[in-house]
Symmetry: C7
Subunit: 104 residues, 7 copies
């Protein structure tokens, strides 16, 4: 199912929380609670401003983002759980992740 988020909302798939074993291997960490890192699947057209125009969002499809634990609304998309988050609840964009590149 393809969905278009409204205005300044963003669709995000949570990425598994990873822990590095002593041998340096990155493995998913089930005990760490909900991941607060995810990949952007779709972005809305922009934040509705007071004058009715919209301000384009600062994140794009494919970005990896960090967000608060309780951010967004969880919905089911073709059997997968995804989050629809307001852009203002996104804390930062991951620009480079050496660990992840080694593990890839």
């Amino acid at each position: 199912m393809r969905i278009r988020p409204m205005y300044d909302r963003v669709v995000v798939r949570r990425l598994p929380v990873e822990t590095k074993t002593s041998g340096g291997i990155v493995i998913p960490d089930k005990s760490a609670g909900k991941s607060t890192r995810g990949e952007v699947l779709a972005v809305g057209p922009g934040k509705l401003l007071d004058d009715g125009t919209t301000a384009t969002l600062a994140v794009k499809t494919g970005d990896q983002v960090l967000f608060g634990e309780y951010a967004g609304t969880e919905i089911s998309l073709d059997g997968d759980k995804v989050l629809i988050i307001k852009e203002q609840d996104i804390l930062a964009v991951v620009e480079e992740d050496v660990e992840q590149e080694k593990a890839a």
Copy 2:
């Protein structure tokens, strides 16, 4: 009964929550609680801005939309239950749903 929602309100009929059987057949899922997906029956003229003008809504009649579980006010329309939702409580518009097309 035909109704015209005010300003940035939208009239939505909830769509049944569906589950896919092992044989791939999509069936309504009564146990899933209130559906958070619906079809737009009517849209208001637009959101009232600070200067008194209105901003046209980004959803239109016939769209399928996703919304939060507690969004909107439920009213009875010719014996049917429908929701009147503020556009700002709509999370996303369903653009394409392969499952639904197969089941149709």
Copy 3:
């Protein structure tokens, strides 16, 4: 008594909640709790905007409107109970009601 509601307030007389008997006759339904449908008796001059001007309301005297269960303030007008509601608490305007026309 004739009253002029202030700014974006609207005077509404609740319409009885109706149920259709098996024979198709529409009758008032006392058990349904407070009606959330009413007729507009008077409208204010408009919503006061930030710059001091007003925006004319989108409902007019004679319209039938739908509103939330707890909307407005109830006052007594010549012995009748009426509601004074802010326009922003009106959900929709009834444009056409086949049932009501048959019953009329």
Copy 4:
């Protein structure tokens, strides 16, 4: 004592709540709780807007107004209780009251 209410405040003297006896005579109704109808004794110069100018009020001295039960602050003026209300808490202005004219 003469007082000048500030900005968008209005000084109101509550009018007694009246009930009509079977013989059609209007009498004060002590049991009805606080009256929510009153006469305007004085109005402020206007509502202070964001840009520092003021918007003249829509009620004037002598108007009879309806207001919510808990609106305003009660003060004592020469031994009488009066209310100082914000204009935004006034619901409507009584334009014509046949009952009151008959009783006068």
Copy 5:
């Protein structure tokens, strides 16, 4: 000690609550709780508006004002208790008080 209140704040000395004896003499009434009437000792330069300019206040030193029971912050000024109140918490200005003039 001379103090300059900030922006839209006002320094007020509470005036004693007075009751009139049967003989018409006005005397302080200790039982009446905190007085909600006071004399303005100093006013701030003006209310800071959204654009950074200020709007001059509508009260001036020497005015007698009425305010809510819980308005302002009480401070000690040379051993006296005075109130520093935001102008928006002032209800009205006393323009003329025949009683007070007789008692003077």
Copy 6:
């Protein structure tokens, strides 16, 4: 340690609360709870306005100010406790204090 407060924040060192003995001598009054009077050590560049510009503050380094009991955040600066207060929580500036001048 020298610190630059952000925007409309102000660094204040509390001044001891003083009581005057019968002999007229001003002495610190430990029992009076937290002092609500202090000296300004540093001021921020200005309050950030809606359009991104800043409005210069109305207090300056060296001013003595009065503030509410619970205003600001207490931090340790070279072992001393100081307060970082938002300008909007400052009630007034002390312009002249005869007592303090005599005691000096």
Copy 7:
């Protein structure tokens, strides 16, 4: 991992709380609770204003800042705990710290 904070958010690494021993040596003070001082690792592009433009932040990478105890959201960055703080929760920037220079 390199991250780009959104809009007016700032990434900060807490600096250890230090206490000075009688001999003048500055040592980390574990008992002092969470440090409210940190070093800025990255800053967002600016605060989103009502008109959709952004206002550049007043802090930059490398600044040492003071902030409230409960400010920001803690995230894990390559195994280290860092804070993502809104600029409006930063109290001040440390401009000069003689103690720290001696200890360096």
